[in-house]
Amino acid sequence: MNIVRMDQVTKSFGDITAVDKMSLDIEEGEIFGLLGPNGAGKSTAINMITGLLHFDKGSISVLGSDVKKEKMKTKGYIGIVPQEVAIYEELTSLENVKFFASLYGLKGNELEAAALEALEFTGLSENAKKFPKTFSGGMKRRLNIACAIAHKPKLIIMDEPTVGIDPQSRNHILQSVKKLNEQGSTIIYTSHYMEEVEEICSRIAIMDHGKVIALGTCKELEDLISDRNIVLITVMDLLSGIKEDDIKQIPGVDAVEIEENIIKISSFREVSNMDKIINYFTSNGISIKSLESKMPDLEAVFLAMTGRKLRD
């Protein structure tokens, strides 16, 4: 059975169409990645699945139940890790987890045990009696996750759970996601870090401007641009006055991204334009430090599909 089915869902805030005729089927057992730049509509899509936001058009069902008609039931299936850390500074870690789990109907010994297990799982057992005030950003993020999983939801939705934390905590979180999935939960994971999504997700939807612009496994997505060649050119000078638009004029080039002194150029494979690209740099008096050809990745997929880079 589909764990989530979105059908032609649209949601506007005033003039902004945050989610635009979005359709999506997520199957039980997946780690489903929702990848997109800031403002793509990832959080909006998620908030409609959890029943937090009303939507204007379309329908959403969770485990076969309509989120509008059977709201309390579908809400109960889900555990949400919100994008912004949502915990009480005045309550201890354990009290935080217990409070949120109790809203899903857990009580007594069962509640206590489930809360302790969630803290253990997120590596916070030793901080169970401590107040989050004293926690690092990474610890708060982990507590944010513990509060979502204690009631053992069938579907766990994580909205950018790794924003702004140290690599160690990030690794811990990525491993936890895999483990939760192995223990039987379906996971929706949003991010704008494509490395993360590439590492853990079985299927990925790329969103932009409220629309799903590509959907498939990592491999399938990369195949979409198998007709492209990616070159990375590193130049000596940061302020070398390179113009994106000038490079796009070169035959065969379909997307350009400039990040400091690295220029990423995607071109169609069948056009051989390497000499013309190199010529652009040398004729403008810009010295090239290195040049490498790159395997296609999600970043490149996004670049090719939108002409923009994933991160700003």
């Binding site: 908030n47 809400k75 919100p82 915990i87 009480y88 005045e90 949120f100 809203l103 899903y104 509060c147």
Partner: protein, 379 residues
């Protein structure tokens, strides 16, 4: 069950908020003490009243000793404060002269039962308040002396007064018991601080927004109605208990007088806490900025409290202020409490209950309507 969880969480969260608690509990206790002591001049004799004149009429055949005691007391008061006592026989004429404001008050000592009545004008000045308080304390000490005299007359060299039955009392036109400054400020500081309980209500909602926890709760199988109900009940409970702590502390430690009918006092305080807390809750839905909201509260609270006689007795202020004070719910709770505590009168209590619960119903309705605007309610 979920509402219960939210209530318990709200209480726990507030118990942990030491800063908020000390403001809500310690602050009024300190204020009661300081104001009670420093403004005691408003209520007992340290101020000079050179031109104040008081008439007194004695209608006593049997308790001559009491009259003697009163006359030595009044001459002592004359010396200390400058209030002049003039004896009169004409009861009705004297009352008219008090009404015409030629005299501040008429003191009437009568028998069967033995009692002192003070007739004064509505909203009379400080000299009358001073007079009332002094007479009350005179009666208290007379009472004490009588007790000693009954047990060991020789020690005082007084004759035993068999007629005395312990029913000496002060009765003014509108007060049955004297109000000491500490008693006064215990009531008004409690209602002052409980007005600030609206901040508890405000933060109950706003805190959930700023910590991003409201959306998280609403993602669980909890309706916006359950969330709001839990928050409102939880914060009302917190405010009410804070009020009770102040009340009990002032009663037991500061020994202020809260009257015989603590149940009615408690009921009034509860209704008032419900009103102020739900005001804060409604404000949290109407004004999203916490600076703006606390600005609004900090602007209106002192005005309403002032109009409620919170800082100074209304009788010590002009009649214009007395008139417009009816718009202040603080005026109603204060006069209701004074009525119940000192007069045994309940008419203002029902007005106050009506005002408090009516306003609370309005505020909660506003909150309920706004809390259903999903996208924006907790943003």
């Amino acid at each position: 069950m979920k509402i219960y969880r939210i209530i318990v969480k709200e209480i726990l969260k507030n118990v942990r908020d030491y800063k908020g608690n000390s403001m809500m509990v310690l602050f009024p206790i300190v204020l009661i003490t300081i104001l009670g002591v420093s403004f005691s001049g408003l209520f007992s004799g340290t101020i000079e009243f050179d031109d104040a004149k008081v008439l007194y009429k004695v209608e006593v055949e049997e308790n001559k000793a009491f009259v003697d005691a009163f006359e030595s007391f009044s001459s002592m008061l004359e010396e200390e404060t400058g209030i002049v006592f003039e004896k009169t026989e004409d009861f009705e004429g004297s009352k008219a002269r008090v009404e015409a404001k030629a005299y501040s008050a008429l003191v009437h000592i009568s028998e069967n039962p033995l009692q002192i009545s003070i007739y004064k004008n509505e909203g009379a000045g400080l000299d009358t308040t001073l007079l009332e308080n002094s007479i009350a304390s005179f009666i208290k000490s007379y009472d004490g002396i009588m007790t000693i005299a009954e047990n060991n007359p020789a020690a005082l060299g007084m004759q035993r007064l068999q007629e005395y039955e312990g029913n000496v009392q002060v009765r003014s036109l509108d007060k049955k018991r004297q109000v000491g400054s500490m008693d006064y400020y215990a009531v008004t500081m409690l209602t002052l601080i409980l007005f600030y309980a609206s901040l508890t209500g405000f933060w109950a909602i706003r805190g959930e927004v700023e910590q991003n926890t409201a959306p998280r709760i609403l993602c669980a199988p909890v309706s916006s109605f359950e969330l709001l109900t839990g928050k409102v009940i939880g914060s009302i409970f917190v405010s009410f208990v804070q009020g009770l702590v102040v009340l009990l502390f002032s009663k037991l430690v500061l020994k202020t007088y809260w009257g015989e009918d603590l149940l009615s006092v408690g009921l009034l305080i509860l209704s008032y806490a419900i009103m102020t807390t739900s005001l804060g809750v409604a404000l949290a839905f109407l004004i999203k900025s916490s600076e703006a909201a606390s600005g609004v509260l900090n602007a209106i609270i002192p005005i309403f409290v002032f109009l409620g006689g919170g800082y100074m007795p209304l009788s010590a202020m002009g009649s214009v202020i007395s008139t417009i004070s009816v718009i202040s719910p603080v005026k109603w709770i204060n006069s209701a409490l004074f009525g119940v505590i000192f007069d045994g009168s309940y008419s203002d209590m029902f007005v106050s209950l009506l005002v408090n619960l009516g306003l609370a119903a309005l505020f909660i309705t506003i909150s309920a309507l706004f809390s259903r605007r999903r996208d924006r309610a907790y943003a």
